[in-house]
Subunit: 442 residues, 2 copies
Amino acid sequence: MSDQPQPVVRPAPISGFPEWLPHVRLVELRWLDGIRAAFERYGFCSIRTPAAERLEVLLAKGETSGEVYTLGRAQDPDKGQGTDKGQGSDEGQLGLHFDLTVPFARYAAQHFNELVFPFKRYQIQNVWRGERPQDGRFREFTQCDIDVINLDEVPIHFDAELPRIVHEVLTSLDLPPWTINVNNRKVLQGFYEGLGIAEPLDVLRAVDKIDKLGVDGVASLLADRLDQAQVKSVLELAQLRGGVEDVRALGVRSPLLDEGLQELDFVLRELSDLPEVVADFSIARGLDYYTGTVYEGKFVDWPEYGSICSGGRYEDLAGSFIRRRLPGVGMSIGFSRIFAKVLSAGLLDTGPSTPADILVVLPKDRRPTATSTARALRDRGFNVELYHQEDKVAKQLRYASRKGIPFVWFPPFEDDRPHEVKDLATGEQTATDPTTWSRGRD
Amino acid sequence: MSDQPQPVVRPAPISGFPEWLPHVRLVELRWLDGIRAAFERYGFCSIRTPAAERLEVLLAKGETSGEVYTLGRAQDPDKGQGTDKGQGSDEGQLGLHFDLTVPFARYAAQHFNELVFPFKRYQIQNVWRGERPQDGRFREFTQCDIDVINLDEVPIHFDAELPRIVHEVLTSLDLPPWTINVNNRKVLQGFYEGLGIAEPLDVLRAVDKIDKLGVDGVASLLADRLDQAQVKSVLELAQLRGGVEDVRALGVRSPLLDEGLQELDFVLRELSDLPEVVADFSIARGLDYYTGTVYEGKFVDWPEYGSICSGGRYEDLAGSFIRRRLPGVGMSIGFSRIFAKVLSAGLLDTGPSTPADILVVLPKDRRPTATSTARALRDRGFNVELYHQEDKVAKQLRYASRKGIPFVWFPPFEDDRPHEVKDLATGEQTATDPTTWSRGRD
């Protein structure tokens, strides 16, 4: 140790850029695998877009640029730092994508002629936002997005299919209680029109803040714009818990409301077997983007934590990039937000720090036997570590136990003796055979 | 269409940042799955580090900074662009990692007390380099790294295990012919010492260029430093194709050479069942980092394309970050290099553009039957698309065919009729049952 030079940099985490120890990472991978499997089970295909896009692409829809990380170069601190223009590129300034919607829009436009529509894609990638980290907000985080886009029109079928898939995902993750709340923008806007409100979007804007301001807060926002009866009806709808018939029972009528209720009715009926999917007439999910069905998932016990998934139906994905109207329906799962919350709440079911099922002991002077044993078990699909040197058996066992490897395998220490396997959970050790053994407990 | 606004940005690829169409992405995912499975089959655990590290971490080992992308912010072009110091962070300048070794070293140092040693990790992530893109070189690319590190000493066991794992990976990818070339730095250096060469590292530096300069080029590099007999012996070793005994037959002796040959002998013996693993006494893999076994994988038919995997044994991973010596052995698979080459050579075996096994037809007025059929098939593990609207059957079939979905399923169009399934490859259509059907052909 004394000849070891002094370290030059103290290793430390960067706030907002999470990383996990191996036993947590193993669960994260299992979650991601489950999500991907669910998406594929419904026939959605994976795409992956580069981490970077041209800045003009990232900002094409009018997003504010404050959260965008731009790419620069370190070598020349005096000039041009922060831009990549010097590198002989004609791409202009590059930035890291801050969501997966903008890259998807650019992808769909760029590859338009090579895609089969309706195009059903999922995308599981990290995104980056240069915002101040806080509870549930990171600067690097994983999103799991699923969208269907089509030429000119998207069947209502998908408005019901997407929340079913996300429901399947969330169910598989073994989370504390959650709901997926569904609404339809046409219901809100049509209801306000039916009340004779001239500027329904202003009202929508106010109602969208009900989570933050409360009912009274929204009421006072509306007071100078609507008459008392209108305010009462608007708030009645926002607080309604029930179904399509309960909205109709409020007695308001308009063509747009009828259309919205019909769409919502289809979605709720298709999902009536899923108790976690509920109608919620208060959610609007922003104002300009979504035009029909909207979704928002939440933890029941942590409503203030914000949404764990969200999405909706939109009129045009990629108008900034192509002269073809591409409407769609999409949902996004806030993977890192969910994972970090469950982890910090102590609810993550972590286990071993290795994917190994079995540690094969390396006995003295019997490496070939141990090697062929490990290989036979790997060929049968097990994840197998062969111990790395001829240490005492007690030390080899301790290694397995510290890593959480569930089984320790003893190849014969002498010829004509049987194999034995020890279950570290029960301590039980039994004679066995590498060509027939199974975990049993599973 | 006429009401569609003019697009504001033309979508275009960014050179050096590859992205794939769905049918290519599907193969990429299959490859990545296979690599991960091989790593886990040997008990290596996954870690994931953030895309960004502090610049002082990235440059701690003395790397030149020219290729590092730094993170800046777009919002304020007049001051501070290219740095993230303004954002109330105390982390200083951040940059995207350009390999997975530096982040692994920082990770090992930072989490040192929470890791079990020997620590066996794999890491499959993208890395970024701001270099000019060329054949086989990207600005964003995927590396698959596998390393074992330990306190103070790493068993020779792993020098043989790592190329076996990588061999398993490369075999699974169905590539054109390749080899994994193995050498040991001690063999080269010890051989030069045995020849009485005073500055063996200078010779090593010259021999390392044999790929670029050829035998004659290296000979003239060495001529002013060594006598003719030494040059002859040095080149004899570099061109030797054979094993440890062939080196011994050259008649040179030194303690370091003996040590190196003994290590190399162990590795080659352990891998003697793998014909693609060959000794190659010309490779040194750089000069300062590796100290024993070294590896380099190449395509047989594209030697000029450069290495497809590489690695070796090193004395100290994380000395820049921690006052503990952590020697190790590691290999890195140049995933994107391999994938892009096989793709551009027309050798990638692509198929459908969707993971769906089956398209379930949606007959007129029979949505519940179709839905429950799709669900039953999904429950049995198939990836199933339910067609999205009540189109003509011919249109639904055309959709399956365009996406490459291999089977089309017809739920009963009337009560008391059987299910039928059509194999689009053969055209054969048969009566069947969703609870018992199997693909058969597989």
